[in-house]
């Protein structure tokens, strides 16, 4: 057992830290993003440029192979990078779905042409990707998806609808799952397409959320023609390819989340210091102290569980139980942090951004509302529990 980093890894951390200090975009308001990594619409241009700057410095795609434009490094460097970005309150990677999911899947399943064509532009943020998985009647039960693709010469003709599609409104490409064989068992008749979002027949309609933002969309396909060279990983093999993407999703979105939680807890303590209840500073309230301490413990827990999972990855083993618990534990902790922030603010919790008296310009209100989706997006907590019970504990399927 060893928690120390090698001198090379420490040096990498130093170089990341120094680079971030020198290159942080000046127009980035750290305060607003202190508790969240959700890209806000008004920040897209800054974020595009930011990813490009990071890419030019060699900090995007660390674990990708060099042939695909990556750095060929390990998950330790990836973890260090995300920790430092979180600590510096640096802007997030805008093309996270491309870098974290589409790219690695293309590297794993793509033809030589596909591998040459797409990964570099994903890393540089020249082409932003979105994920066309969920449909109105296929979410947790993804294999129920109904969007159809029918062969017509060298093309596939797609009709149907996707929903909750993050970033579709700015995306250049979509990872699209569509049913290509309606007669096959449901997991066997699905194909994974790389869809150019500018193709005629693609319509994107933004969905406004609880937060007031429109991060995600409905996407409609009306006789959309996709050339057969845009199939990834073979016709009717889309389920396996799509699951690979989801495995990368867990990894990509997992790094750095723990540090962001810790930053949120630190922010919570600052908030509690400034707020009073019945004339007493909230940090002096024993109940409040215990609640904050418990959240601190929860974030520690996540750190060490993450370290155990990364250890297994580095040893070339499959992630064990500790990896499968990560998402749901993170969600629970994050939602509790946000709820406690509302409790700390008391009556002020009602004031949103725009109100002169809003605490911290309503930053916590935004993240509180946004956090409600955490237990749904990226695999609901209920589905995570089913997966743990069935795949880790071996309980029978229902």
């Amino acid at each position: 057992m060893d928690f120390t980093l090698t001198p090379e890894q420490e040096a990498f951390r130093e170089s990341v830290r120094a680079w971030l200090t020198a290159n942080m975009p000046k127009e980035w308001d750290r305060r607003v993003t202190a508790t969240s990594d959700v890209p806000r619409p008004e920040a897209y241009d800054v974020l595009r440029q930011w990813q490009r700057t990071m890419y030019d410095a060699g900090f995007v795609g660390l674990t990708w192979p060099k042939e695909a434009g990556g750095q060929g490094l390990t998950f330790i460097e990836e973890m260090i990078l995300h920790q430092e970005m979180a600590l510096a309150k640096a802007p997030p990677i805008l093309n996270i779905l491309g870098v974290g999911m589409a790219g690695p899947t293309i590297v794993a399943y793509g033809t030589d042409e596909q591998k040459r064509r797409y990964p570099p532009k994903i890393l540089s943020c020249e082409e932003i990707w979105c994920q066309g998985y969920s449909e109105p009647n296929a979410g947790s039960d993804l294999a129920a998806l109904q969007t159809r693709a029918v062969k017509d010469g060298a093309h596939w003709v797609v009709n149907g609808q996707k929903v909750w599609t993050s970033l579709a409104h700015i995306a250049d490409y979509m990872m699209l799952l569509a049913r290509t064989d309606p007669d096959a068992p449901r997991h066997k008749g699905i194909t994974y397409f790389l869809l150019d979002m500018k193709t005629p027949g693609v319509t994107v309609k933004p969905l406004r959320q609880l937060t007031g933002d429109a991060e995600f969309n409905e996407v409609f396909f009306d006789n959309v023609r996709i050339h057969e060279s845009q199939v990834l990983g073979g016709v009717n093999n889309g389920w396996a390819v799509g699951m690979t993407t989801l495995m990368y999703e867990r990894l990509a979105l997992g790094f750095g989340l723990q540090v962001r939680l810790r930053i949120a807890v630190d922010g919570l303590i600052e908030l509690a210091r400034r707020m009073e209840k019945e004339g007493r500073q909230l940090t002096k309230d024993p109940v409040m102290r215990q609640k904050i301490a418990q959240l601190w413990i929860d974030t520690e827990c996540l750190k060490y569980t993450g370290a155990r999972a990364i250890t297994k990855l580095l040893k070339g083993e499959l992630p064990g139980p500790e990896a499968s618990t990560g998402k749901m534990v993170w969600v629970e902790t994050h939602q509790k942090i946000q709820e406690l922030a509302m409790e700390i603010e008391g009556p002020y919790s009602q004031l949103m951004r725009g109100a002169d008296r809003a605490v911290e310009n309503g930053a916590w209100q935004y993240t509180f509302l946004r956090s409600r989706a955490n237990s749904i997006e990226g695999g609901t907590t209920e589905i995570q529990k089913n997966i743990i019970a069935e795949r880790v504990l071996g309980l029978p399927k229902g």
């Binding site: 057992m1 520690e300 370290a307 618990t325 089913n386 743990i388 309980l395 399927k397 229902g398």
Partner: protein, 316 residues
Amino acid sequence: MDFGFSPEQEMLRATARKFLENECTSTFVRARMAEPAGVTDEFWAKLAEQGWLGLVYPEEYGGTGLGFVDLTVLMEEMGRVVMPGPFFSTVLLGGLTILEAGSAAQKKEWLTKIAQGEAKATLAWTEPSARWDAAGVTTTARAGGTGFVINGTKLFVPDAHLADVLVVVARTSESKKSDEGLSLFLVAKDAKGLDVQLLPTMDQTRKLCEVTLTEVAVSADALLGARDGGWAPLSRVVARAMVAPCAEMCGGAQRVLDMTTESATIRVAFGKPIGSYQGVKHRAADMLVDVENGKSLTYYAAWAMDENVPEAPLAA
């Protein structure tokens, strides 16, 4: 970074599991629960033979010189079978305090005996106030004759009825700060004025005692560590020792989870195994999360103790 166990540690786990499955069966545990001793001489001798009683002591005192991460592996296995007896009180509470505060001669004498299974020890710290801080210590030791005279009542003392030697925390001088003026003493089981009463407790695998000290006279060389300087070593020992029951509970919790999962797979209701219903499934998943989280924190605390990182007591 490597947050996993070494091949040697995995081997220790396999050895411990096999040994305990054979020697510490459910029948054995229940029999020990029913009697005051909570352990048999034969079983204790076997633990010594395995080298486990001196696992974390240096080799010069008859130990194996291993660390807390190794101990964690062993304790998880002990927890798995709910091993009864004075392992924690002897090896970790009594023994570690002697290791931390004792002179070379005291360590040589007691740790060697503990490692060989020839002596048991415990720590008499808490009192009827049930306080875990320095202010809770009201037992006094006044200088008298060539040594000290101890008076006071210690409560919740684990396995005092089995111990050959008790490490007693007592106040040797009054000070404004409660953590000043405390000293540690070695009190032999046959000391005059020492009375030990076994208490009926909920967890019958862990015996607890009330220890009354009435004008107990000890010689000057019974002092363990510096006079008035007892709190610092004591708090270090307590932080370290705490890791052991955590590991034990991780092992126990994992076993309970295994048993529950097995039962949910076999037991059928409404025509299907109950584990196929989400009502059961989700609770099982929640249990797994709790067990894994417990392990993460415990393993880190054990590592932090071995490496002496500044936040080790916090981690514990």
